[in-house]
């Protein structure tokens, strides 16, 4: 049997977990979450600036480019705590865009863009397409070399998180028959290229990006030799951070449900005393603990060839199962209140569905694992 991964936890992870738990709880109470759902931008720029001041945007950026030179393992506790508080904002998108540049950018691009991301300029990645199957190299959007050394883009990307706030967009296209990544700025986009999508997770800002008519200089192309590997890296990084958000959300969702089960009375009894409710909550809890163990194994082993991919796919599959179950039961166990807008259970359930639909659901990752393990 292959090495499936193991738990390891650095002092940096511990310190960031502690700070993030406190920060996210204070900055993202559920009333704020609900207010921002109605806000066009969708996040609080003051909180975003504070995250920059805390150095969070540069955690996984090398010191030479203005970051603190840690890795995604240290980003995981931050995102877990954000997910726990249903926090909104382009943190994960910006982190992933930085990863794209670190893994696949030219030296000039890294020097130009990474320090800006570390300093708090939002960025995003555009991987999804209308006929996506979650495979990183399934790409139909195209770039063609045109006159004067410029690239002409065509096609459409969908489900691009935070494209509205992003000052940099890393877009997956096909060029000369191979996958490629191109860096765009808002100035490159014609009016109407970005359309805000209506998505199930209302804490999120997601966009469709039409590339037809967009032209950029060839130096916007990330290193073509590394595009395939960079897309694989982004796929795994995105799933790792999604799993972190989901594990945090699962914990909060279970706690939220338990609060209700400990206080709500029916037929003269606190409903949490009924085994019909108590035992499924134990199921939700044990699935949560298992998902969290997978998450911190994936964080620790992320950079290990082979094991990293196994651990990340297990983490995402486990997180999908745990979050979906906990949030589904949360709606049900709140009874009539669970069917209302005001009950937070729906917020968790919607966020779980969003994450399952992004970068592969549990069944997708299990299928991948079968190929990796058997």
């Amino acid at each position: 049997m292959k090495d499936l991964g193991r738990i390891g936890f650095s002092e940096d992870q511990a310190a960031l977990l502690e700070v993030a738990a406190d920060f996210c709880q204070r900055r993202s109470p559920v009333a704020t979450v609900r207010r921002l759902m109605e806000d066009e931008l969708g996040h609080d720029p003051a909180v975003w600036a504070e995250m920059g001041d805390l150095g969070w945007l540069g955690v996984a950026i090398p010191e030479a480019f203005g970051g603190s030179g840690l890795g995604l393992a240290e980003v995981v506790p931050l995102v877990e705590q954000m997910g726990r508080r249903l926090m909104a904002g382009p943190f994960v998108s910006t982190t992933l865009a930085a990863q794209a540049l670190i893994a696949g950018g030219t030296e000039a691009q890294k020097l130009e863009h990474l320090p800006r991301l570390a300093a708090g300029e939002a960025a995003a990645i555009a991987l999804g397409e209308p006929d996506t199957d979650w495979e990183p190299d399934t790409i139909s959007a195209a770039a063609r070399r045109g006159d004067g050394g410029r690239l002409s883009l065509s096609g459409r990307k969908i489900l691009v998180s935070d494209a509205g706030a992003a000052r940099r967009l890393i877009v997956a296209v096909r060029l000369d028959g191979a996958p490629a990544l191109v860096l765009l700025t808002p100035e490159d986009l014609p009016a109407g290229a970005l359309r805000r999508e209506t998505v199930i997770d209302e804490t999120r800002r997601s966009f469709s990006l039409t590339l037809d008519g967009v032209t950029v200089a060839e130096d916007r192309l990330l290193d073509p030799d590394r595009a395939g590997a960079t897309l694989e890296h982004l796929h795994l990084a995105a799933n790792l951070l999604a799993a972190a958000d989901m594990v945090g959300g699962t914990q909060a969702c279970i706690d939220y449900t338990l609060d209700y089960l400990r206080t709500r009375t029916q037929f003269g009894k606190v409903i949490g005393s009924y085994q019909a409710l108590k035992h499924p909550m134990v199921d939700a809890y044990t699935r949560y603990e298992q998902a969290r163990s997978h998450l911190y194994s994936a964080a620790h082993c992320f950079n290990e060839q082979g094991t990293g991919e196994i651990a990340v796919r297990m983490a995402k599959a486990a997180a999908d199962g745990a979050y979906s179950f906990a949030a589904d039961r949360s709606i049900q166990f709140h009874g009539g209140f669970g069917f209302t807008w005001d009950c937070d259970a729906q917020l968790y359930r919607r966020r779980a569905i969003w994450h399952a639909a992004q970068f592969g659901d549990a069944a997708f990752h299990r299928k991948k694992l079968a190929r990796l393990l058997f």
Partner: protein
């Protein structure tokens, strides 16, 4: 002796490795039980008793128990090395589980000098097999309500009542017995006392219980005016509940001091994975069926999660919210997984899943079907999964009592 010379330890480990390599009998010609609870035939019993005796005589069981009581007087690291060698060479289980894992360490900790001298060596040599008399027919999970009576008459107590699920009851020479010496106490727990009880005494009858597997693993034990010597009391009269709770700590491995070795060799997800790889259906490896593959991945994820859970409990920052959560839920998670995994293994064998133990055409001699049925011993024994879910729900999640 408390300091360990690494050179001595390495030499000991090397000797143990060589000894087990030479002495382990992989196939005695009949199926060996996977756990001490599944010893069903005299052939199995005698084979395992001889095996434990041989391991002890070689110095690889009880290595860290005091020399005066039959042990090796060495630091624990030596016994751990011996146990690792035993496992590496797939040695059969240690038979006298209740003796070496919980009665023995209990006597070492709380017993009188006379009790230590009388009982410990026989536990290690497997000359004296031990059993446990806690559960009663009317009180499976509720030990505090035990009704078996013990009434003092001079230098002994007269015992009446019955105990159930007595593992190795047919073979045992001694029992650790929880009995009621005072039925009138305000708290039911204060009327219980803890005895080291001879089993080969008039008035004790052991009736085999036939398990769902068809085998005889346990007995029900009936006491009719049976004599328990008063010098077999552990702790004071009326102090039995505390001793019983300490015994459970040893039983669950929450407290160290066991003599070493292991008493079960459960099949795990990797064994089932191996089964899935070598099983063919319609000329194809069964793992090529995507539904089978998906289920197998699920089990591998689950067993990996349980391993990781154990590692995570060693990182305080990662269990800060509910430090007792994983330990209290691990029996529920582990035993339920094992039951479902063995059910999956039976299904993997396809049409041959209809066979049972000893059928020549059965896969692995019908082991998987028996494993599945035996897996319920863990989801029911030591507190059913439903009781475990109540414990987790109430003590970890803070829900009100059912």
């Amino acid at each position: 002796m408390s300091t360990v010379d690494p050179k001595d330890l390495a030499a000991f480990a090397e000797q143990a490795d060589a000894w087990f390599a030479e002495n382990v009998v992989r196939d005695p010609g009949f199926m060996l039980p996977l756990t001490f609870m599944e010893v069903g035939t005299d052939k199995q019993f005698h084979f395992l008793r001889d095996w434990q005796n041989k391991v002890w005589e070689a110095g690889y069981l009880g290595a860290a128990w005091p020399k005066a009581y039959g042990g090796g007087g060495l630091p624990q690291a030596f016994q751990s090395a011996a146990t690792r060698a035993m496992r590496k060479h797939h040695g059969p289980i240690m038979l006298n589980a209740i003796g070496i894992n919980w009665a023995g360490p209990l006597i070492l900790e709380m017993g009188t000098e006379a009790q230590k001298a009388a009982y410990l060596k026989g536990i290690l040599s497997a000359e004296d097999i031990w059993c446990q008399g806690f559960s009663e027919p009317g009180h499976g999970s509720d030990l505090g309500s035990a009704q078996t009576r013990a009434v003092r008459h001079g230098d002994h107590y007269v015992v009446n009542g019955s105990k159930i699920w007595t593992t190795l009851g047919r073979y045992a020479r001694y029992m650790i017995l929880l009995a009621r010496t005072d039925p009138s106490t305000e708290r039911k727990y204060d009327g219980l006392s803890f005895f080291l009880m001879p089993m080969k005494a008039p008035g004790i009858e052991t009736v085999p219980i036939r398990k769902l597997t068809g085998e005889h693993g346990f007995t029900q034990t009936f006491f009719t005016d049976a004599k328990a010597p008063a010098d077999g009391l552990v702790g004071p009269e009326g102090g039995g509940w505390k001793v019983a709770m300490r015994t459970l700590e040893y039983e669950r491995g929450a407290r160290g001091g066991q003599a070493g070795g292991y008493v079960s060799v459960g099949a795990n997800a990797f064994d089932v994975f191996d089964l899935a790889r070598r099983t063919q259906r319609g000329g194809q490896p069964v793992l090529e069926d995507p539904l089978v593959a998906d289920e197998m991945v699920g089990f591998l994820m689950e067993i990996q999660a349980l391993t990781l859970n154990g590692q995570r409990t060693q990182v305080p920052e990662l269990v800060a919210d509910r430090p007792q959560g994983i330990p209290l839920a691990s029996k529920l998670m582990g035993t339920e997984m094992s039951r479902r995994l063995n059910d999956f293994a039976v299904r993997l064998t396809g049409a041959r899943g209809a066979y049972y133990v000893d059928e020549p055409d059965a896969v692995d001699n019908g082991l998987w079907a028996r494993n599945y049925l035996n897996a319920f011993s863990a989801t029911i024994g030591g507190g059913t999964s439903q009781i475990q879910a109540n414990i987790v729900g109430e003590h970890v999640l803070g829900l009100p009592k059912s």
